[in-house]
Every structure is written in C-alpha cells, then in structure tokens.
C-alpha cells in the first residue's frame, strides 16, 4: 500500500476548484443521490463507515450526529476550518483545491442531520482559501445547491462563511461557537454539549473539513466501499500534513494503518542526507512525541497511536532529526500554548505561562535542578482540570518531551548548553 488518491483524486486538476470543473468529475451527483435517501439511512451509512472526526479528537462522526435531541429546535451544522493545531495544513489544501467537495459534503451532512443553516468557520489568516470558498459558495448558491428546495427535494439550506481573527482556541468546537456568536473565542462549559445546546443555544454539530468532505465518498461508495481503506477501527484514508526534517514535506493521503516510517521514507523522501531520526510528533503539536524507536513499527491509525500513548490528532506529522535540540523545540511549543491560552480557566492561564517561563529559562542557561520535576507537576495539574482541552494540549508535549528526552533537559540545566553538538539554539536579537 502506498499513497492513495481517494479524497484527493482530482486535486491536481486546476479546474476542480470551479463548479464546472467539479461537476465534470462527478461533483454534486452524490448530493442528488443523498437527497433521495432517508435521512436516517445517511446517518446509518456514516456510522457504518467508521468515519471518525479528522480534526483531532477522532470521535465517530455518525455517533456524534446521533446525539442531536429530537426536540423540534432548529439545528446548525458548523464546519471547523480553523486548522490551528501546529503542524496541520491539510484542510487548507482541501479548501484551495476542492471547495465544492467540502460544500457538497456539508449539504449532504446538513440534510442528514436536519440542519437548515450551516457555516464554515475559517481561520482569519486563511484569506486565500476564504476567497476561494466565497466564490464556490456563490457558485453553488447560483446553481441551486444551496438555498430553497435544493434540487427539488424540498430541503432548504443556507450556507455561509465566517472568518475568524487569529486564535488557536477557536479550533475547539465551543470556542468556535463563541467566536461565531460574536464574542471572544472562549470555550463554553460542558454540559451542555453542542449537540444539545451549541450555536445560539441550539443543537449544533461541529465537524472538521476533511470529515465533511469524506461524507461525499461514503455516499458514493457506501460504508463498505469506504472501508476498503483503513483498518477495522480506523476506517478510510486520511490526509497527513508532514513537516520538519524530511526531504519532501507536504500533504499526503494514505490509508489509515499505513506505516509511519513508510510515510516518512517513501512519500516524504526520507530524512535529509546523513541525518538520523530522533523523534516524531504524530498528530499536531499537542500529541505526545514519539521517539525514533517508537516510530519504527508505528502505524498511522487511532489504535496504534493510542497504544503508544500518543494521538493521531489532526494527522500533523512533525519530524525531527538528530540535529534537533528537544529543549529548544519544547520552548517553541510551550510558547505557543502560553500565547494561545484563552485565559478563562486559572490552571491553564497561569500554568501555561509558568511552563513557558521554566523552559525558556532552561534554554537561556537559567535552568534550576528541580525544573524538570516541577514541569511535570505543573503539567499534571493543569491536565484535565479545565473547561477545554487546551491545558491537556499544553501538558502532553511537556510531559512527553521531558520524560522521553530527560537527558537532554538535565544536560541543558547542568551545562547551560544543548547536549546536541552543533545544534543551533535560537538566541533572540531583540528581547
């Protein structure tokens, strides 16, 4: 098995981004079919397909849809296109190359769950993809795929684009909802969960770009056809964003269950000449880091990553070779979570800043003997103690880095320099 073109089959064709081009390759045919299906049949099909959320949490999509209460209240479908987990850039590709695939997937999904209003929440920095989406939405509206009585089915759907303004936390589904409601993007207390009380306190489903786009293929091929790829518990294909120390970074679609080292060595062209693998973050910066040894037999699926104590997350694979200083890398990660903590829950607000200061101190030769254990204590005491998972996301890399590469941290604290010979430690010029 190798790279497949299942979701990305036509991504190399520039016209695929237009309505005309999309239709040339079968676009919106699945919508027409879906609108003739029983809603429950679509939900059942999505459940049977084993599709799991591609944004990070990996929650079964059909099950999530099933949480909507039958209370007659209006429902909303929100597409999470915030793509803010460091290392992740696959949704951007999907929106740039195949905006109609996402729109078609959204219309089908909205029909299935009975939503008449849907939004794509796109991060503010993605001005390029946003323009492409706006154009595509306009085309779809003009062609009657969005609006009243879609394709004569009697189903109405309004679909619109909402742009963010720079905040990682808006990728968290309730943070996204807060942002869409016009406030700071601070996550909301759960319960109630969004499926029960989400956008405007109405039942709301939030799904990732790739998840919604996958629905088109599930309708086309059926659950069984979709399951042609992947493993029992990790069905289908997934787009992986690979960055860091590989020859050919980029987005690659492979079946779930694919070997991590194959992705690195085959699709990505391997490491840079003369370098050895040191570590891989397999699912975005919040996923616990894997050592080279752990990577050896790792497969890219939810089960294997869980067994290894990490996460498949958003499928953002960040590769680090033996030239990298893990202390320096952790300092950028702790800086990120400190910068992005929304600030409402005390443990996260205070803990992320504290952890950054400690790691920063180590990198600047001011480390203290107890720092490693203190980092572990802080991380363990913010994890699971807050409204959303940002604290966990900040804690996991800290715990995994200082545990798996403890020697590098100890060395840095003691010697006030990196253990990695010849590595470049960033010394800021302007602070």
């Amino acid at each position: 098995m190798a790279e497949v073109k299942y979701l990305t089959e036509h991504y190399d064709k520039p016209e695929y981004r237009t309505l005309e081009g999309y239709k040339k390759y079968g676009g919106y045919e699945q919508l027409a079919r879906a609108l003739k299906m029983e809603r429950q049949k679509i939900i059942d099909e999505v459940k049977a397909s084993g599709l799991r959320g591609r944004g990070g949490a990996g929650f079964p999509t059909g099950v999530k849809w099933g949480f909507l209460p039958n209370n007659g209240e209006p429902r909303y479908l929100l597409c999470n296109a915030d793509e803010s987990e460091p290392g992740t850039f696959k949704d951007r590709l999907m929106m740039e190359r195949a905006p109609h695939q996402l729109i078609e997937g959204m219309i089908i999904s909205a029909y299935a769950i009975g939503a008449h209003k849907a939004y794509i929440y796109i991060r503010g920095e993605y001005t390029g993809p946003a323009a492409i989406l706006e154009q595509a939405i306009r085309e779809a509206r003009e062609a009657g795929y969005i609006g009243k009585n879609i394709l004569g089915s009697g189903f109405d759907l309004d679909l619109d684009l909402f742009i963010g303004a720079g905040a990682y936390i808006c990728g968290e589904e309730t943070g996204l909802i807060s942002s869409l409601e016009g406030t700071k993007g601070q996550p909301k207390l759960k319960p109630p969960f969004p499926a029960v009380q989400g956008y405007l306190r109405k039942p709301t489903i939030v799904n990732n770009v790739e998840t919604l786009a996958s629905v088109v293929n599930i309708i086309r091929d059926g659950a069984e056809g979709y399951r042609k790829y992947g493993t029992e518990k990790s069905a289908g294909t997934k787009l992986f964003s690979v960055s860091g120390d590989v020859q050919k970074p980029g987005t690659y679609e492979v079946p779930l269950g694919y070997k991590l080292m194959d992705l690195i060595n085959n699709e990505c062209g391997g490491l840079k000449p003369g370098r050895k693998l040191k570590a891989v973050i397999p699912g975005g910066s919040s996923a616990p880091v894997l050592t080279a040894a752990e990577c050896e037999n790792a497969t890219l699926d939810y089960e294997c990553m869980q067994q290894l104590g990490s996460m498949l997350g958003s499928g953002a694979v960040i590769v680090m070779d033996d030239s990298r200083c893990m202390v320096d890398i952790l300092s950028t990660i702790t800086h990120f979570y400190h910068h992005e903590s929304c600030g409402q829950c005390t443990p996260c607000r205070e803990g992320t800043g504290w952890m950054e200061k400690i790691v920063h101190g180590i990198v600047h030769g001011e480390g203290k003997p107890g720092d490693i254990d203190l980092l572990l204590k802080i991380a363990n005491n913010i994890k699971g103690r807050t409204i959303c998972a940002l604290a966990d996301a900040a804690a996991f890399p800290v715990i995994s880095f200082v545990t798996k590469f403890r020697d590098e941290f100890e060395y840095f604290i003691k010697e006030k320099r990196s253990k990695v010979k010849g590595t470049k430690i960033y010394a800021p010029m302007h602070h």
Partner: protein
C-alpha cells in the same frame, strides 16, 4: 427529591440543584471557590470547586454539575485536595504578596482559602506577570489588576445585573485584565457591589480604602434607610464610628445587592454630623441643655392648659420607626389634644420612581409605616392647612421630628423657613444643620438617635415589616422619639450614659437568610 451523599452525609435535594449549592447551602461543607456566586450565572473558570463523584474518574467542578439521584460526592479525597492545592497555587503565582497594604486583607478569599486548603510551599521562582495598578476605575472603585484572579464576577455583574456593560476582560491568556473601555468610568448606581463580590483586593472602595483594617471592625446587621426598598445590610464599625455598609442577602427584598447611595447613609450617623446635646433659646438667649431636661421642659409647655390644643402642630417624616410614630402621635392626640399632625413629603414628584432594580424614589425607610399609623389614628391633613394655620396664627407651636438623612430632603431649607413662622418651634433632629442653628426666636433643638442606635420597625414600599435592633451608641445623650414622647409626659427616661456600646443586632423577618460568606 433526589438522594445524594456529600462527604458521607446523606442529603435530599431538589432536582436541578448543583453540587456546590448542596455543599454550601444545605450540607454546610467547606468548598473552595472563587468564580461561583449564587447571584450570578455560572462561569466555571476558577476550577477550584472540584469534587470527586463515585464512578467518574475525572474530577468535576461542583458549580456546573447538577446532582443526580444516588450521586456520591466527596471533596475530601487526596485527589481533590491535591487538585485544590495546585488550583490555589495557580491563582497565587502571579498574585502580588502585598497583603500588608491590601484593604482586602482579613476578608480575602485568597488568604482564607489558602489557609484552609493551600499548598504552602510555592515553587514559583519565575518573574511574575506585570499588570496595571491603582487604576481609577470610576467614582467609587479602584482596580489593582495584579491582584485580580480573573474570576469574572464583576464583569458578570455589570453584564447581567446592572446590564451597564462597563467592564470587560481584555487581552487573553495570562495577559488578561479586567477594565473599562478606554478609561471610561465604572459609573453605575450599583458599582460598589463589584467590590463586595471581588474575592480578592483587586477592586476596592475609594470610600473605604486604607481607612481601617477589617479585623478592627465589628459588624451589625440592619436595614438601609436610604429609600423605601429597605435593603438588608450590615454596617462595619468600631469605637470611631461606622466605616462602611454592605448588603446582606434577602431574597424577598434586595437579593445579594444594594445601591451605592445606600452605602453613604452611614455617614450621617457618625459623630461629626450629629447634634450632641439640646439647644434651647428663650428670650433671645440660647443655652445647651441635657436633652432630657430640654424635652421635659417642652413637654411641660405643651401640656400647659394655655398652650395645649389645636394651636399645636406635629410634623413627621417617613424616617422614623413605627413605634416612634405611635408614641408621639398618641402623646399629641391624647395629652396635647391636637390632631394637627402633618406628613412632610420630601420629594412628591419622584416619590413613586423605581429604577427596576432596587432604587426607589421615596427616600424614606418608613413612609408606608407613617401613613398606616396616621390612618389608624384617623388623621387626615394637608400641608396647606399647616401653612395657613401658621399665617393666620391658628397654629402657634410646631414640633418637628425632622429627617435623619437631610441629604435626601432637597426642601429642607425651605421647610425650615416655612416652619420658623411658628411662635415656638421644637425641632427633633439627629444631625446638625446650619439652617436650624441660625434660627432666631423660641427654638428648641433636641438630638435624636439614628436607626443604628435604637430598636424599631420599618415598613417598606411593599408593606414588608422589618425590625432593626440597636447596634451601638454614637451620641450618648441622643433620644429616640419613644423616649422623647415619654419625656414630654414628664417621665425620667435616662438616655445612654456610655458613649460607646457594642450590641449584637440582627434583622428579623421571615425572608432573612443567613448564608455566611459568599
């Protein structure tokens, strides 16, 4: 009803009850918390009220978890204790250690809860986050952002209670700070409630800042006399007098809040504002007298056959207690033989105003009580009759039970002028007043006790009877109107001798709920 167990105690609670409500209000268990306040929507951000629920591996916050039947809850497990310790430490790592100069010291929830639940050995060696200090937030409130723990209570208060939206939390992460937009003042009629609900010393009252250490103050529960709402309050005082007023929860009257104006009411109680002895002028010569002596002299005069009868008028305001009205009205009707008893209405045009929250246009605590008493005695008079009587000479003697709180009597000066036409004017008053001191002719001033110094009943706008108890004595020689009425009859009522007496007072009515510190 639902059954549950909290720290081993079996409880029955109503469906919808949250764990923190059950713990604090029903089981009376200690639970650390900052952001939760029973009068505000749940924020769930301080993360301190964590509890362990049997069968749930993850700690839950008590403020956002409703009790389900059979739930077994504890906050005494090692897991919870450890989480609370760290939770407190996270609150403290960037908090300044300026307790020695912080007004909140002694009633600071950060201090209190750390003493109870804290980690004690902070491991924070990194530099603290710097934020704004001594921010002049508005006419009554000062902010110290470094002390702020971002519980958001004050923001929720201006968003949800006053709906004035002055406050916000700006920026994000540990750079977050509360504040107002572009220095716009926090200026609403309830702004000091933000100081009350601030669990730390981030928001302090300009009026109270640096004036007293709270551990040198005692508290006395009473009723605010600032308007006819009758908010339940407590005053903080020591031998120097009163220092501040804070609201006390009463679901039926004021909930958790009170207005800023009501906070100023205490000021006239303190000695500098008060009339300390009686002043009597006869034949152009004035002298200071013991109030009892003066009152007895006035009484003799009023009861004398040549003076008594309908030439005597009594003027009452809505500022005294039911018991006082009864005593004085009975004396004038029965012993003096006059029914010329008049109600001085201070602000007739705004009497029925209401701001929708607590503030009423009737700036008297007991207008309703006065009206009830007058009606019961069958007294119906118009102010015009008094003025006419004074100009025709039909009314020669006027006794006035003047307002305690002169600040809410915009017509005070005008009324003094009008009434000074009487041949003999007796003015019963708690506070000094230039207009009164300037009066010529046969004038007697007798010092009255304020609401803090006597027992009695007020009837609020809705007809709710609320009793006040004597808390302390500020002016030793001052008399209540009940005592004045007795002295008028010639009875030797002895006013207080000691200048400072500490009493334990408490407001009693069915709706008063003691909820402890919130």
């Amino acid at each position: 009803m639902l059954q549950c167990t909290i720290n081993g105690k079996e409880l029955e609670v109503k469906p919808g009850t949250t764990i923190i409500e059950a713990m604090k209000l029903i089981a009376h268990e200690d639970i650390a918390h900052y952001c939760w306040h029973p009068g505000l929507p749940v924020a769930g951000v301080c993360r301190l009220c964590v509890v362990e629920i049997e069968g749930n591996p993850r700690l839950q916050i008590a403020c956002n978890t409703q009790i389900t039947d059979g739930m077994k809850i504890t906050n005494q497990s090692e897991k919870v204790k450890e989480a609370v310790k760290w939770g407190l430490d996270f609150h403290l790592i960037n908090h300044p250690l300026d307790c020695p100069i912080c007004d909140q010291a002694g009633e600071c929830e950060l201090q209190n809860q750390y003493m109870k639940f804290g980690k004690y050995d902070s491991e924070m060696a990194e530099p603290k986050v710097k934020k704004h200090k001594v921010v002049d937030l508005g006419p009554r409130v000062v902010l110290d952002s470094e002390r702020c723990i971002l519980c958001s209570r004050c923001v929720r208060f201006t968003d949800e209670v006053t709906k004035t939206h002055e406050l916000g939390i700006f920026n994000r992460g540990d750079r977050s700070e509360i504040g107002t937009f572009n220095g716009r003042p926090l200026d609403n009629k309830y702004s000091l409630n933000t100081v009350d609900i601030c669990p730390v010393g981030a928001l302090t009252s300009k009026d109270f800042r640096f004036r007293q250490r709270v551990w040198f103050l005692k508290e006395h529960q009473t009723i605010c006399t600032g308007c006819s709402t009758g908010c339940n309050v407590k005053v903080s005082y020591n031998k120097e007098g009163l220092f501040r007023v804070k609201p006390v929860y009463n679901e039926q009257v004021n909930g958790y809040w009170m207005c800023d104006e009501g906070r100023d009411v205490y000021k006239y109680v303190n000695k500098p504002a008060r009339l300390l002895d009686a002043w009597m002028t006869t034949a152009g010569r004035g002298e200071w007298l013991h109030p009892l002596t003066a009152a007895k002299k006035v009484g003799e005069f009023l009861r004398a056959p040549e003076n008594k009868g309908k030439s005597v008028a009594l003027v009452l305001t809505g500022q005294h207690t039911l018991e006082e009205y009864e005593a004085l009205i009975s004396f004038f009707k029965n012993e003096v033989g006059t029914d010329r008893i008049f109600h001085w209405v201070n602000n007739p045009e705004s009497m029925n105003d209401f701001d929708g929250l607590l503030i009423r246009g009737d700036k008297n605590p007991n207008t309703k009580g006065l009206l009830e008493t007058l009606e019961r005695h069958g007294i119906k008079t118009e102010w015009k009759e008094l003025i006419d009587g004074l100009s025709t000479g039909a009314i020669r003697t006027v006794v006035v039970a003047g307002p305690e709180n002169q600040a809410v009597y915009p017509d005070f000066k005008a009324k003094v002028l009008e009434l000074s036409k009487a041949q003999k004017l007796v003015w019963l008053t708690a506070c000094k007043n230039e207009e009164l001191e300037r009066l010529q002719g046969d004038v007697t001033l007798i010092p009255l006790k304020t609401y803090i110094e006597k027992d009695g009943t007020f009837v609020n706008y809705a007809g709710l009877r609320q009793t006040v108890k004597k808390g302390l004595t500020v002016v030793a020689n001052a008399m209540s109107l009940v005592e004045v009425a007795e002295a008028f009859k010639g009875v030797d009522v002895r006013p207080e001798e000691a200048p400072f007496k500490v009493g334990v007072g408490r407001v009693n009515n069915e709706a008063t709920l003691q909820r402890g510190s919130l």
